[in-house]
């Protein structure tokens, strides 16, 4: 018997056996891997099919598409009441913003979208100038356009703002304020100075320990009591501040998780090269930490976007609030009116949140590719 083995010819490279690769292979591996798995696939498929059919039937097949009042929709066995949506839609977008001035919020949204779009495309030119515009010039332009009172623009009280406009204003300002604040808080929580560290921890834990509704009530009712006499803060502004501080505490915790995940050796390597602590944080630790935190941060932004509906409790009419208010209109009192309104609300919120979530996934994948591969 010999222990030696010497290969004199390479084993042939062959394609995989049939039924294990391609579409058929995928189906077998993922949907019909065994009796239990096949049964589950069929049951879930049936449930999803039934759900899709019900929505299609209600929203399209049995829906009422034209008409000008409850009579059109109040017919037996009718589905969604779309005329109600056509009539109310401008109000859902702009709230009680004066009809003649509605070009202003429209312009703000258009400028914002136009400036944001190239920021989201990797490799688009002029990112730096664009970012400066978005962070410094745009808020001022948006404020002047929306609130008016300058350049011959009619002043419009924030109490007449509403609908999707308010939802977007609150969400976008909230995001823009809470992200940098959250990052500072996360760094503060890891500071070597006990005073900074303690203050950050107290701030974060305080805001995380209080429900958002309470925060909004406090901002609306109690905050004015603490302000010096004669100083008034706009109600919408107070709600935005409350929501931003609330979100910043959560952002801080998400970023702290990212900071902790960056290996200690990274800091040491930076320090050993002669970089200062601040430079190490800005150039080495934070970029890596934020990358790691993206999924959590976007999760918080999505939460914040949805939480904007809670400003209803301090009588600010956001998108959902104004849809709700429109349901009281006797002209449209029909069985399916409310369902239709809420259906549209769900679609719009879903569209925004899903877009954010998808964009975050895209960014993650892109950074993953650049960073590791």
């Amino acid at each position: 018997m010999s222990v030696a083995f010497v290969r004199d010819r390479d084993a042939p490279l062959r394609p995989p056996p049939p039924g294990t690769a391609g579409a058929l292979g995928w189906l077998r591996a993922n949907l019909f891997a065994g009796p239990g798995n096949s049964l589950l696939t069929l049951l879930l498929g049936l449930a999803l099919g039934w759900l899709a059919w019900s929505v299609l039937d209600w929203a399209v097949l049995r829906a009422v598409w034209t008409g000008s009042g409850r009579e059109a929709c109040a017919i037996p066995d009718a589905g969604a009441c779309w005329p109600f949506v056509w009539e109310k839609f401008p109000q859902w977008i702009f709230g009680f913003y004066p009809l003649d001035e509605r070009w202003r919020p429209l312009a703000v949204m258009a400028i914002g979208a136009a400036a944001l779009a190239p920021m989201m495309v990797p490799g688009a030119p002029g990112k730096q100038a664009n970012a400066l515009f978005l962070l410094i010039a745009y808020p001022a332009i948006a404020y002047v356009l929306l609130a008016g009172g300058a350049f011959g623009l009619e002043p419009v009280e924030t109490s007449s703002w509403g609908g999707l406009l308010v939802t977007l204003v609150v969400a976008v300002t909230g995001i823009v304020i809470s992200l940098p604040l959250g990052i500072l808080l996360a760094l503060g929580r890891r500071s070597e100075l006990p005073v900074v560290r303690t203050a950050s921890i107290v701030f974060i834990e305080l805001w995380r320990g209080v429900p958002l509704v309470t925060v909004l009530f406090m901002a609306s009712v109690m905050l004015p009591l603490f302000l010096p006499g004669g100083v008034t803060l706009d109600k919408l502004m107070r709600a935005i501040i409350g929501l931003s501080l609330f979100a910043s505490a959560y952002i801080a915790e998400a970023v702290r998780g990212g900071l902790q995940a960056v290996a200690k050796g990274q800091t040491e390597a930076g320090l050993a090269l002669g970089l200062s602590r601040g430079q190490v944080t800005r150039k080495i630790v934070l970029p890596q930490a934020l990358r790691i935190s993206i999924p959590n941060i976007v999760g918080i932004f999505i939460g914040l976007f949805k939480d904007t509906t809670l400003v209803l409790v301090v009588s600010i009419y956001d998108f959902l609030g104004i849809i709700n208010a429109g349901l009281q209109d006797a002209k449209w009192a029909a069985p399916q009116t409310a369902n239709t309104g809420y259906f549209v609300a769900a679609l719009v919120y879903f569209a925004f949140c899903f877009a954010m979530s998808r964009y975050a996934l895209f960014t993650e994948a892109r950074l993953e590719q650049a960073g590791k591969r």
């Binding site: 290996a263 050796g265 990274q266 040491e268 390597a269 930076g270 320090l271 050993a272 090269l273 002669g274 970089l275 200062s276 430079q279 150039k283 080495i284 970029p287 890596q288 990358r291 650049a370 960073g371 590791k372 591969r373």
Partner: protein, 245 residues
């Protein structure tokens, strides 16, 4: 007489109540190559990490190229600018390209214009023989290539002293040689080097003196021939017997 590159005078250090460095006295001349070896936990890494203040000593004095290291942040940063370090786990910045890894410190610490820093970085990447990888990210390189980038990154600050903390311990065996070759070439140029390593072939070839540490103390310092040929201390003999087989 020329100024000493590194001086340890009666240095002691504790981690909590554990005495990691005990009464360290050591003078390193300019251009000298020192290899430090010893069993794990003997304090050899801690010793060289004290030189650029990644660890703080509690007693005694450490003077690096004429600058005493104490709590003065400016003194520490001055020393760190002149002392390069290469780590066991490379510690390259994964979010930056190889080139950006090398230009970061020259640009932000030395205030060098970007173009100049890139030219400098390319020069050192050529010296460690990987200029073609400049645009890649560290994660795309092999361990040996990463460690050579780490050496180039440190050299871009044109340091007077280089510290190596077990630079080949995390490498696959077939990549050890390429890193050691780079270090040998560096030694041939007259760089002052303190190297923590168990690569005894490297120590024989390059070192002016070999230091053996055990339990936080310097047990033996000797020229490589003497050190390996006639170790004087019993613990040194035991250690060499274990690693040389």
């Amino acid at each position: 007489m020329a100024r000493q590159a590194v001086q340890f005078i009666g240095v002691n250090k504790w981690f909590g109540s554990f005495h990691v460095l005990r009464d360290i006295n050591l003078d390193v001349e300019q251009g000298e190559r020192i290899v430090i070896c010893g069993p794990s936990g003997s304090g050899k890494s801690t010793l060289i990490r004290c030189i650029n203040r990644l660890e703080q000593h509690q007693e005694g004095r450490i003077i690096v190229d004429g600058v005493e290291i104490n709590d003065d942040v400016h003194a520490i940063e001055e020393v760190r600018r002149e002392v390069g370090m290469v780590f066991q786990h490379f510690n390259l910045f994964p979010h930056l390209t190889v080139l950006e890894n090398c230009t970061l410190a020259p640009i932000w610490v030395r205030g060098m214009p970007k173009r100049e820093a890139e030219a400098l970085a390319m020069k050192f990447l050529e010296r460690v023989r990987i200029p073609e990888q400049a645009k890649k990210y560290p994660g795309q390189l092999s361990g040996g290539q990463q460690q050579r980038v780490a050496i180039a990154r440190a050299l871009c600050m044109t340091p007077k002293i280089m510290l190596f903390d077990e630079p080949t311990s995390a490498l696959d065996p077939e990549m050890v040689k390429e890193v050691l070759d780079t270090m040998v070439a560096l030694a041939a140029e007259g760089m002052t080097m303190l190297v923590v390593t168990h690569e005894m072939g490297f120590a024989r070839q390059v070192a002016d003196r070999v230091i053996f540490m055990d339990q936080g103390q310097i047990v033996e310092i000797n020229a490589p021939d003497e050190f390996f040929g006639h170790p004087r201390n019993e613990r040194t003999r035991l250690f060499l017997a274990q690693i040389l087989r």
